[in-house]
């Protein structure tokens, strides 16, 4: 299982802040997970589509599409940051 977190606009659009997902064998990295979530359709497809400028983190460090995923990881998806 991995934990997936959603923040800010994405959290509101998806209607949830976190979920546990059993990592399918075909999903090996962040890009694979994103595609897996997009395949749910509806809001997931709309909000996580490749054209959306989302950022990702794995175990609380900035990640990229090819960042590998392992069981027990904490993955987060969020919009570009706007603090300060």
């Amino acid at each position: 299982m991995i934990t997936v977190l959603y923040f800010a606009r994405l959290r509101e659009a998806l209607g949830q802040s976190s979920e546990q997902i059993a990592l399918p064998g075909t999903v090996r990295d962040v890009e694979g997970l994103r595609a897996h979530l997009v395949a749910r359709g509806g809001q997931w497809e709309q909000e996580l589509a490749p054209r959306k400028p989302l950022r990702a983190a794995v175990n609380q460090a900035i990640a990229h599409g090819d960042t590998a995923l392992n069981d027990g990881d904490e993955v987060a998806f969020f919009p570009p940051v706007t603090g300060g």
Binding site: L5, F7, A8, R9, P53, A57, Q60, A61, I62, A76, F78, P79, P80, V81, T82, G83, G84
Partner: protein, 152 residues
């Protein structure tokens, strides 16, 4: 180095005193305070809510401060960022850097702030007269951070 994320306000004078306390090697302190304005992108802002990613946000700022320490002679630094609901004139963020000389303090303070704006996970949602909108990331902030790649 001190990094704090908090809902409470902060006292700049007390924070700088805490940063300097007992260190006679400090000859310069540069600080930046970010404040909530009542207007953004042409719209009136009644209040805003700041969201963060507990755990990662602190780590991201610590990493930014570590990068600053690798580039400039920084004796100590303190970063405080508020979250939750804030209103115009409220303080949002404090970056204070202590060095032996002002050049290092000024540069490191600006670098930390520019990187915080584009790399630390915070998100602002503005309330503008009954409507709420998530603030869009600005390209100018990204350019401000990018220019540090070009100069020392």
């Amino acid at each position: 180095m001190t990094v704090r994320i908090q809902t409470a306000d902060f006292d700049v004078s007390a924070e700088i005193a805490g940063l300097r306390r007992g260190n006679p090697k400090i000859g310069a302190v540069a600080s930046f305070v970010g404040v909530v304005r009542d207007v953004n992108d042409g719209g009136a802002v009644a209040e805003m809510t700041l969201e963060h990613y507990p755990g990662m946000t602190e780590k991201a700022i610590e990493e930014i401060v570590a990068q600053a320490r690798a580039r400039w002679k920084v004796l100590d630094a303190r970063v405080i960022h508020r979250v939750g609901t804030l209103r115009p004139t409220d303080q949002i963020v404090l970056v204070a850097v202590a060095s032996s000389h002002r050049g290092d303090a000024f540069a490191a303070c600006e670098f930390i702030m520019d990187y915080l704006k584009t790399r630390a996970p915070f998100w602002k949602k503005e309330e503008t007269g009954g409507a709420a909108r998530w603030v869009e990331a600005r390209e100018s902030d990204e350019l401000a951070a990018e220019r540090w790649r070009l100069k020392g």
